[in-house]
Amino acid sequence: MPEIITQDGTIKQDDWVLVSRPEEGESLQLPEKQPALIPMDIWLADPHAIVHKPGLGIWLESHDEPERLEGMVNDLPLIAVNFPKFSDGRGYSIGRLLRERLGYRNELRAVGDVLLDQLQFMKRCGFDSYALRPDKDINKAARCLNFFSQSYQAATDTDIPLFRRRAG
């Protein structure tokens, strides 16, 4: 079973399957026994149409608009955001919007080109689990999640920027 890092740095076994977008003319292939993450727009086309017993969540591309999920986010147990390349920073904005604007409370996972040195940024932007790229050393993740003990600006992890803490 694949391993996932959580935001407190623990490694957990996890069997969610990321289902890719079906090719033209093909239909969505859901795994039989495992919970599945399907592309956001397929789910949005009819949120009640697909029933998947083991569990159903969605994943977003970095160009997807999370605003389209307004009012529905907490129906989902898991949302994943794909980082197609680690240098594509759009996922950070998506994370913050899902959490801070749309009020998403369940698990938010970073998938795709997820490396060690971006983990703390992801954590600060609301991601609480990370599917590290398999060639990266998962045992170093906990350290990389906590390089910094405090930060200057507010984000999802804290809404109090340093200038307000200094005042206190």
């Binding site: 680690f86 920073g89 950070y92 703390q120 932007c125 930060s151 507010a154 920027p161």
Partner: protein, 550 residues
């Protein structure tokens, strides 16, 4: 000047430890080159033609003497004994070894310095007027706002992987714009509204490079406390919608153009509606606290030394020239602002040796409350010099070569490192600057010509800001040979404009003569009170063309 507290010290120490860890992993092969790249760039380390370069951050150009001495020591211990001042008020080392960089960063952190976000696709060092706080035409001192922006942008988790680099500049003067805000990704002009409240006029999408643009205004008045929430809204719109498919189209100016300034502004305002009242909105206390770091030094109550200076000027013609060109009026009676010209013919413009750095530190201690500033023109400013000590200072500057009174004249060239140092260059830029400096070595003639900004870039990336030079020079490659294209009429002041290309390019050897011809046209056509740019704007490019290509 800003002083670190325990928060800043802790965050910076953690940053240095992080980069040491990253460097170790890179050297051990655990990080691929393309994975390490943005990490080292955001720590100031980039690799050029001959060697790695380390760009050290000098927030809005201000340095304390102990920091300058530390820089001198670092150039000696880790480098070839000199540093380069950049047009973004930073300092650059040219030859550090990659494995030494964590140690260099640690040494810098001991004097509250770093190389954070001086490179890479992130929010860069916020810049401002080198005369901030000492001139009387300021709406308010811009430096507290620069420091507020600087802290907000430091390791911002959402904006570490933008489509491209992102530069913010703040200007506070009503008369001039020494910070060139209209050619920045975000330019903030400090203003007061009808009610006398402080705020910012917000320009977005200015820039040089391949597609030079003057940044349009997207908001006429942004109230002071809303500074950070609004910047965050702009950055979020850019991070989400800026192009990532083509690095030449990835700057925010392209997005602003595609959406139109109105369309872009609308998106920003909509985004901002959600966050404007969030805790990121500045508090009065936070602003005042920051302003408390930028109070006036211990000035003495003095009168202007008018008589003394008049007599010294009368007795020493060279002092007189220096005073007229390199010394600027201070808002405090009895004080003056002095610009040291680090550019001398025969040395690469903008390079300073370790010894010179130490001399600057000594001068700062002796004459200017222990502080110095780096300018966009790559000179050094002592901002608080007593008028009755100007003559003494001038005498001290002579032997060390910092008193060339060519400030803002044709030979006070802005010049990028060019083909001598830079991997991206099409052509060398330093020898062009030198040959023009040699051609125009008669100071009286230079003074008579008045203000002329000559800016030279070695390629389209425009680090020498050639588009906004009154005379701009761009290195181009023609079948493997180095040529130079000239543009006229650029300006980075309040009346910002992008220069127009004169015509076909020239060989390097012809450049001094071509510039001389351009100057000749100006001298012939100017009216009494016109400067070069005024004449150009009145008569247009045609007469210059005719003369040069005759």
């Amino acid at each position: 000047m800003y002083v670190y507290d325990e928060h800043d010290r802790q965050i910076l120490a953690e940053r240095v430890a992080q980069f040491r860890d990253q460097t170790n992993r890179a050297l051990a092969g655990e990080l691929e080159e393309d994975e390490f790249l943005p990490l080292r760039l955001q720590n100031g380390l980039y690799v050029q033609r001959l060697a790695p370069m380390l760009r050290i951050c000098v927030p809005y150009g201000m340095l304390r003497s102990d920091q300058i001495r530390r820089l001198a020591r670092i150039t000696r211990d880790y480098d070839k004994g000199y540093a380069h001042f950049t047009t973004r008020q930073n300092v650059q080392l040219n030859w550090p070894a990659i494995e030494d960089v964590p140690d260099i960063l640690e040494e810098l952190s001991e004097v509250e310095m770093h190389a954070n976000q001086t490179s890479g696709n992130c929010i860069r060092n916020t810049t401002t007027d080198q005369f901030a706080g000492v001139q009387d035409d300021e709406i308010a001192d811009p430096r507290p706002y620069c420091e507020i922006i600087h802290q907000w942008s430091t390791y911002h988790p959402e904006f570490a992987f933008l489509p491209r680099k992102f530069k913010v500049a703040v200007n506070a003067s009503e008369r001039t714009d020494r910070a060139a805000i209209q050619v920045h990704d975000i330019g903030l002009q400090m203003v007061r509204n009808d009610k006398g409240e402080l705020g910012f006029r917000v320009h977005v999408g200015g820039g040089l490079g391949r597609t030079p643009m003057v940044g349009p205004v997207i908001r006429e008045f942004l109230p002071e406390p809303d500074l950070l929430t609004y910047l965050e809204a702009i950055l979020r719109v850019y991070n989400r919608y800026g192009r990532r498919d083509n690095k030449y189209k990835a700057r925010i100016k392209i997005l602003v153009k595609a959406l139109t300034p109105e369309g872009f502004a609308e998106k920003v305002e909509k985004e901002w509606e959600h966050t404007r009242n969030s805790p990121t909105r500045l508090t009065r206390e936070a602003i005042e606290r920051m302003q408390g770091y930028f109070t006036a030094p211990d000035y003495q109550a003095l009168d202007n030394a008018t008589d003394l200076l008049a007599q010294q000027r009368f007795e020493h013609r060279a002092f007189d020239q220096w005073l007229s060109h390199n010394v600027t009026t201070h808002k405090k009676p009895g004080y003056a602002i002095v610009t040291l010209t680090v550019k001398e013919t025969g040395t690469p413009p903008d390079d300073v040796s370790d010894r010179q750095l130490e001399q600057i530190a000594d001068l700062a201690d002796e004459y200017s409350f222990g502080e110095a500033r780096v300018t966009h023109h790559q000179n050094v400013v002592l901002a608080d010099v007593r008028q009755d000590r100007l003559f003494e200072l001038w005498q001290a500057l002579q032997p060390i070569g910092f008193a060339t009174p060519n400030l803002d004249t044709l030979t006070d060239v802005i010049c990028c490192p060019g083909g001598d140092y830079c991997a991206l260059a099409n052509a060398k830029s330093i020898p062009v600057a030198e040959s023009i400096q040699r051609r125009f070595d008669d100071l009286d003639y230079l003074y008579d010509l008045g203000r002329i900004d000559l800016n030279i870039s070695g390629c389209m990336n425009a680090c020498g800001h050639h588009h906004v030079g009154h005379i701009g020079v761009l290195g181009v490659d023609k079948k493997g040979e180095e040529f130079y294209q000239i543009s006229l009429g650029g300006s980075s002041q309040h009346d910002a404009s992008i220069g127009k290309i004169l015509g076909p390019s020239f060989a390097r050897d012809d450049m001094p003569e071509v510039v001389a011809k351009l100057i000749g046209v100006y001298v012939e056509k100017r009216t009494e009170e016109e400067e070069f740019l005024d004449t150009y704007r009145r008569i247009g490019i045609q007469p210059f063309k005719e003369k040069v290509y005759a």
